[in-house]
């Protein structure tokens, strides 16, 4: 039986009383781009550091190509990491930084230089080879860090929020550069981030972590449209979560009574029973907004309290009572006909099939 390239088997990491990683099972296959995402302190960086050998798992096993890695020291593995602060050696030139990994593997000076220069050329940095790290811009440093990590041609590259120090514009550019590089090389990338757009834009698979556990793994689309639990639904995207009780099950639809009205949704698997409490998830981008009642499907109403304008997309925040602010995301031109000044009563509607029922736990 062939195993995935990297396997984490019930991996636990405790720091004294505190459990940072609480039994993570994870399989990363060859050539995939996996993003590990979660809020601060969720254990994502600790997981990555255990893969690199910078932390020892307290329990469980990490296998690379089927071989147990737990006891290997960091320098005995080939799991280069791109650091959040890049950690480029300030006392070495750009070229010497890139050469470092090869030097440690006792590659002859000439070959070392050739291979490093190739990488610098590939990253468009050949002319900076002799410079000090301090003389480079943020984006250039980023490329040096990636070249330094990849020069040994590892099977897997670990990245720990490498773009967090860059400004928004540069970050987006580096995202596509990294994605392209990964596709060209076919090397497995494990990318830790707390930034959802970054994870979704780059990764083929996303693992959402919280409280030291993986909450969900799947394609960005799956995670976005079918969150596995309340945490994921709240963490990912701009989802509205409404809790209620099942009042009817009929024709593949479930009717749920909530404080804001009765809504229909497709019956999930396994089907709930009448009287069960459950949560409905409505993605903000699937909501239609109008200033008059009478829309088809699920409708609720509330008072517009604010709006957020991000380029072509507008998010409307509608206070629907009971402390819940309902979000609707629209293209700006879709709202041209609507008067959406603060304090207006608005109706939000969405189709029953666009309602997602959170799996019950």
């Amino acid at each position: 039986m062939s195993e995935a390239l990297l396997v984490l088997d019930k991996v636990v990491k405790r720091f004294g009383e505190h459990t940072a990683v609480d039994g993570v099972d994870l399989q990363i296959s060859k050539g995939e781009f996996l993003a590990i995402m979660g809020p601060s302190g969720c254990g994502k960086t600790t997981t990555l550091r255990m893969i690199a050998g910078l932390e020892q798992p307290s329990a469980g096993e990490i296998r690379l190509n089927g071989t147990r890695m737990n006891e290997l020291k960091p320098w005995q593995r080939d799991t280069p990491l791109v650091w959040q602060n890049l950690a480029l050696f300030p006392h070495l030139s750009v070229l010497k930084n890139v050469e470092f990994g090869l030097k440690m593997r006792n590659v002859a000076a000439r070959e070392r230089r050739e291979r490093s220069m190739n990488w610098l050329e590939r990253m468009g940095l050949a002319e900076y080879a002799g410079r000090n790290i301090a003389q480079l811009s943020g984006g250039e440093r980023q490329r040096v860090a990636i070249a330094r990590a990849l020069v040994t041609e590892p099977e897997i590259l670990l990245l720990d929020e490498p773009l967090s120090a860059l400004d928004a514009h540069l970050r987006v550019r580096m995202q596509s550069e990294i994605t392209q590089l990964q596709k060209q090389l076919g090397i497995t990338f494990a990318y830790v981030t707390h930034n959802q757009s970054e994870a979704f834009a780059m990764a083929s698979r996303v693992a959402i972590m919280n409280g030291g556990l993986i909450q969900q793994i799947g394609s960005p689309r799956e995670v976005y449209r079918a969150p596995a639990n309340h945490f994921v639904a709240e963490f990912v995207g701009s989802n509205n979560i409404l809790s209620g009780t099942v009042t009817a099950l009929e024709g593949g639809q479930v009717t749920v009574q909530t404080a804001w009205g009765s809504f229909n949704a497709p019956t999930p698997e396994p089907a709930p029973k009448t009287g069960d409490a459950l949560e409905l998830v409505v993605s903000a981008d699937l909501v239609a907004v109008s200033d008059s009642a009478g829309a088809e499907g699920n409708v609720l109403s509330g008072e517009l309290i604010s709006e957020e304008f991000i380029g072509s997309i507008i998010t409307l925040y509608i206070d629907i009572g009971d402390g819940i602010v309902f979000r609707a995301q629209k293209q700006q031109h879709e709202l041209d006909a609507l008067d959406y000044s603060s304090g207006r009563k608005l109706f939000a509607s969405w189709r029953p099939e666009h309602t997602y029922v959170l799996p019950q736990i």
């Binding site: 910078l54 650091w83 030139s93 010497k96 002799g130 330094r148 990590a149």
Partner: protein, 296 residues
């Protein structure tokens, strides 16, 4: 190049707007330096041209002291010997201090670190002279150490009155300070660099030499320089543990003054020492803060 362009205008602005507030803080030091360093130094230079007549100092302008001191082989020998002793003391002390400061900076828990730092300060509680006298009792021919070794049928070893004795004294003088200075510079090394090196396949020992020492270079060089300065001018260890044979420059100054009250000649030696230390200190600072410019 880029750095220079950046720093120069800043330095210029700072020099132009000397405000009263900066002066308030800077003035006491400036005055102190003027009264207790520059003025005596000038006087020292002047005195080297004075003469001694019937054991009395006479203001004069005579180069006889300079000619006399530099034409004596033993003065030149003593100069180079002192230079060598100081350098040896600095190197031995830096090497001995490094494992201690490394362990304290990277391996010790915060509590152990605090206790360790405190223990490094305690030697300064007692006079250096007292500590050297205690060493005499330990290392003399029938002292504590030789008696102890004698139990195992070893020795006696002659330490008192040798270079080894002098070195023991030098290390007593400088080791705590050198460990402290090294510790502070090692503590400033970002652990990320250490982990990054290991992540790239660099073993622990290799990381020390390829990453940690280069990054802590400034502090390590300055600590060694301090050790050199202290050893080079020390009088106590070479007299009390080295038995003044062969003499160092400090011993030479004392002897010159005692024999014939020849302050001007002693001043020549003192000036040689001051100039040497200035050159050494500035060279060390140059190397400590130098940023390597690599070429491809």
């Amino acid at each position: 190049m880029a750095d220079k362009a950046l720093t120069q205008p800043t330095a210029g602005t700072a020099a132009r707007n000397v405000d009263g507030y900066a002066l308030f803080w800077g003035l006491p030091l400036a005055l102190w330096q003027l009264v207790f360093f520059v003025a005596p130094l000038v006087f020292l230079v002047v005195m080297t041209f004075w003469t001694v007549k019937n054991f009395r100092l006479t203001p004069d302008f005579d180069t006889v002291n300079w000619v006399n001191m530099f034409s004596k082989g033993y003065v030149i020998d003593t100069y180079f010997r002192t230079l060598w002793y100081g350098a040896l003391g600095a190197v031995v002390c830096s090497v001995l201090a490094f494992p201690a400061s490394y362990a304290l900076a990277f391996k010790a828990s915060p509590v152990v670190q605090r206790i360790g730092l405190f223990m490094l300060i305690t030697p300064f509680f007692t006079s250096y002279l007292v500590r050297i006298y205690s060493w005499q009792a330990v290392v003399s021919d029938n002292g504590v150490l030789n008696n102890l070794l004698g139990v195992f049928g070893l020795g006696p070893f002659n330490i008192l009155g040798t270079l080894l004795g002098t070195m023991v004294g030098y290390i007593t003088l400088t080791l705590p300070l050198v460990i402290l200075l090294q510790f502070f510079s090692l503590s400033g090394v970002d652990r990320n660099y250490i982990e990054a090196a290991q992540n790239l396949g660099c073993g622990r020992l290799r990381t020390v030499f390829l990453v940690i020492i280069p990054l802590a270079k400034t502090g390590i060089i300055l600590a060694g320089t301090f050790a050199f300065i202290l050893c080079f001018g020390d009088l106590v260890s070479p007299t009390s543990l080295g038995s003044s044979k062969p003499p160092t420059l400090s011993i030479l100054i004392v002897d010159t003054v005692k024999q014939g009250n020849n302050w001007p000649r002693a001043a020549v030696v003192a000036l040689m020492m001051v100039l040497t230390l200035i050159v050494v200190a500035f060279t060390a600072i140059f190397f400590a803060y130098r940023v390597k410019k690599e070429k491809t």
